[in-house]
Symmetry: D2
Amino acid sequence: MSKKINVGVIGTGRIGKMHTKNIVNNFINVNVKSVADIFVNDEIREWAANLGIENVYKDYKEILNDSEIDAVLICSSTDTHSQITIEAANAGKHIFCEKPIDYDIERIDAALDAVKEAGVKFQVGFNRRFDHNFKQVRDLVEEGKVGDVHIVKVTSRDPEAPPIDYVKVSGGIFLDMTIHDFDMVRYLTGSEVEEVYTNAAVLVDPAIGEAGDVDTAIITLKFANGAIGVIDNSRKAAYGYDQRVEVFGSKGGITVSNDTNNSAVLSTEGGVFSEKPKYFFIERYKDSFLTELTDFFDAVENDKETPVQGIDGLKPVLIGLAATKSYKEGRPVKISEIEL
Amino acid sequence: MSKKINVGVIGTGRIGKMHTKNIVNNFINVNVKSVADIFVNDEIREWAANLGIENVYKDYKEILNDSEIDAVLICSSTDTHSQITIEAANAGKHIFCEKPIDYDIERIDAALDAVKEAGVKFQVGFNRRFDHNFKQVRDLVEEGKVGDVHIVKVTSRDPEAPPIDYVKVSGGIFLDMTIHDFDMVRYLTGSEVEEVYTNAAVLVDPAIGEAGDVDTAIITLKFANGAIGVIDNSRKAAYGYDQRVEVFGSKGGITVSNDTNNSAVLSTEGGVFSEKPKYFFIERYKDSFLTELTDFFDAVENDKETPVQGIDGLKPVLIGLAATKSYKEGRPVKISEIEL
Amino acid sequence: MSKKINVGVIGTGRIGKMHTKNIVNNFINVNVKSVADIFVNDEIREWAANLGIENVYKDYKEILNDSEIDAVLICSSTDTHSQITIEAANAGKHIFCEKPIDYDIERIDAALDAVKEAGVKFQVGFNRRFDHNFKQVRDLVEEGKVGDVHIVKVTSRDPEAPPIDYVKVSGGIFLDMTIHDFDMVRYLTGSEVEEVYTNAAVLVDPAIGEAGDVDTAIITLKFANGAIGVIDNSRKAAYGYDQRVEVFGSKGGITVSNDTNNSAVLSTEGGVFSEKPKYFFIERYKDSFLTELTDFFDAVENDKETPVQGIDGLKPVLIGLAATKSYKEGRPVKISEIEL
Amino acid sequence: MSKKINVGVIGTGRIGKMHTKNIVNNFINVNVKSVADIFVNDEIREWAANLGIENVYKDYKEILNDSEIDAVLICSSTDTHSQITIEAANAGKHIFCEKPIDYDIERIDAALDAVKEAGVKFQVGFNRRFDHNFKQVRDLVEEGKVGDVHIVKVTSRDPEAPPIDYVKVSGGIFLDMTIHDFDMVRYLTGSEVEEVYTNAAVLVDPAIGEAGDVDTAIITLKFANGAIGVIDNSRKAAYGYDQRVEVFGSKGGITVSNDTNNSAVLSTEGGVFSEKPKYFFIERYKDSFLTELTDFFDAVENDKETPVQGIDGLKPVLIGLAATKSYKEGRPVKISEIEL
């Protein structure tokens, strides 16, 4: 058996912790040797000790300087992603980077250039591509079951708006939340978005508007292959996390429904009751978070292409910036206006 | 028991025949005394005789001149609706008019003015408001079950594109097909559309494009109450007539699925198979066509308000004209631009 | 056009009235000339007048003596069915008889003998065979979609127990309610029941037990073709009329779900709510009541076989008697024990 | 943190391997110190080494003799369960025993006596109680959502019949397959089965009949609390593993549907297609296998009651023996007849 892949996890917030636990519990050939967190404390140290992790650092550079480390997971705050990507690439580490790489196109380009030059593997954490439902839609589309794609629709609604402090630094709904949906429409159609028009409003919470953002949006899209699409978002669906897609084409259509914790249906005099969707992304996309790592480590170990490349990290940001501009200017915006 | 309402049906195409049969079979207090069709022939005469209809005319004016006739159903070709409405109103007949009243705003205004002056009942044939599913959505919205409406979505796809000859005179997809959806969003939200943006393409059949129309469209909407919405259309869904709506608000959401001819689900080694949606509008909206007449004759007999008034005939045409303009100019268009 | 079929309806209770209205509204070639009801009163007379029915009798013999009458619908109380069938057959009338023909095997045999001798058409009112869902199951089974039938399951639960006075004269749940399900399993499998075992209890209302009946039952069945089956009944399902079937075979299975008045699904913080099943048989089987008459009049007019024959009226009674005996004796009972 | 629980796994077939992997991957406080398998070979040794397991034995007694071992999982062949249970109890080990404990009542009694005397924890592997769907049904029943239970129904069909060699030693379908369903009805109703009647046949494969077993069965049940029930089984459902339950009571009913790998629905001209049920028990009950161990180790570590006790291992065997007897004698059989 080949030697284990040594991994360092940078950032031990909710996502960093989840990835770490997934690796420890599921990958025999992968060893989480070190974790780093600028806010390291006793709780993190105990958590790491329980998982048998050797090193807990405050400074991620200690991970990059460890020649035994083969790959890093960048799970720190968004504003550090591009910088750490560059440093990790320069240190010759394979990189799994949480989305988005950055909100700034130049910084993304710099990060992707560094990756390219170093020749390391690079994967962006668009985990929803690995979801059992959406992957099935993509597979059926690729098999030609719907023929040529005419319309793609994504419904993506969160169960709760994030704290206003987070909203203020989030980059706005289109870069923070819709970015996953921009990735999804590219994934489902296999085509690039060329133009967006944003119809948005502040309907959930006036404080979000005061923070300069919107909380409800419908974004229409034009694709390079001629298809058209629409995404609808809300920061707050009272019934939980609403995650559905539909692809419609010349031969038919595919829809998916939300996952629920059970399929029990209770019928009484008062009506017919069934379960709400799974609460939020950690529960809903649990398996996909594991699958994306499976593919990443497979790419590292067997020198394969990663399934979500640098361009897949860049494009949704471009679309997000165009969507933002469209909302502000009240007109359709071409992606090419942003790329310039 | 009160005397029967005497009715004349003008136009005996598919819709005119259906309405006539519905009346004969279901309304004890209503008598279809006469029908008129410019293309009257032996087949129509035999059909009318079998239903016990007294008179079959070539010229609808014979119906208008019959002082025993209380009400008319205008089911002739669209370009005659406004003119016949005016004449019927002047003759003091109550009017049930198939949609649309006209494509020309001035002619619609003239027709509605005539109706108003004559003080006759007037109802536009937006039958989908009477559909069991959509009415339930509307009722739940009115009861406040979803709270304030944030997003309304309508999917409306035909099973087959109409003949190209029809496409050429149809007024375009937005006035011919989407007009029902424009009525639906007004009905479901209880609010007026203020602005539309049209994203459309020719994906089903190039001949439709050559005829100056589109066959696939996504139209986003802004409402007076702050809500936003989206309609998606296709002239051809391979699996049949796709008619779904969704209303999402502060307290939750409502969706409906398509009606099918049966609920049988066959599970085999090859998969799980269920029934396609009902084929087209005659089958799908069968009951609603009956219900709209029930309400119309109730209004006539008991001097009530009709449930779909003149304004409801005008507004969807305005939205349709704005959607057309938006598509042609590639920008959002306010309804107020059309009204001027 | 051929001359109209003249019909007399005997018994103008709920079912008799429904059939009459269905004929008047839907069959151009059929004329309800006369109705008879032993409890005839002004309300019935007015109802008949409104439908344009010529004669309203107290004595059904006046219908049988009318040489212009071609066919009769026997909708009177169960204890009169076999006697009137014999008299109507002797009078040369075609017969549509509500289920059951009788509870007494000898009287059923006598009625069927009279029908045979007279050579008139005879159809029993097992309307559920004409239901859109169950007919589709039967069609798929006949097409071989499930291969050889191994298991058939019927769930049949009423929304409310009938009045105790009715329970006392009903012949018991197996002859009054399950009889429809006994017909259904014969219809779905295309095979005869050979043995039954009844597992039953009084769980809904002790008064039903005091009246000598049960209100909850599971009946297992063995079929001539080797298949096995099960029916479960309840006199009271809190959520409404529960009518489902399942056929399972060597190649797969078919299930159907309940019909509802609409497909709206409301999702809120409190859960996901959908519509209850249609309330009871008049609503649920509305279309099937019409379809069974279509087939009956087609058989009369065009000298075809009726779709539900005398044997189909006899067999479910035999099974019902066996089910009753099985419950009383606590052991499996062969149908052949009853036939002797 | 408390010291780890040391576990020995006896039997490393499919189930033994699955439990072992589940423990290694998910329980930080549990250590699989040793495994034993009478057919130990290099493949098992390598598998164990990869999981970091210290000892691999041929003789399970080496596990029982290891004073550091706290608990054992008995996953060996059924005929060894009761004997090893006795020895493990005598050795003071807590015991998780796969179902069934034995097919012989006296041997089960002896095993349970030994457990009782030793005062060790004992849990039987009825994993389906921990399934997300069935647990939800049980919870809703316990909360009184359906009121008093009137009818319980279990559908349990395998995707493929086992090899004939297995059928011959399986103890018969009622002890091998239905035993899970006997446990399920006890679990769902919270009441004991008092009488069974078995309606069964050989419809899937004549070879199963030649081996002295049946492959298709409907078993009706009477419960101590007055409820009645029915289980239907098939050794081969062409569409996969069919696992559904229904509980019906005075206030309503609960149903569950099968789990599928995804919720994608493809609609084309040919129909509407969705995913088949998950293939078989390893996939379908994946999470429940983990949850049952969570509860077992919780009981061991915190000196709690196990959730599936000795009586729960005994009762389904009694019912299975009664079901077998009922089939052979063609009559209802009381459980008390078996207990004597």
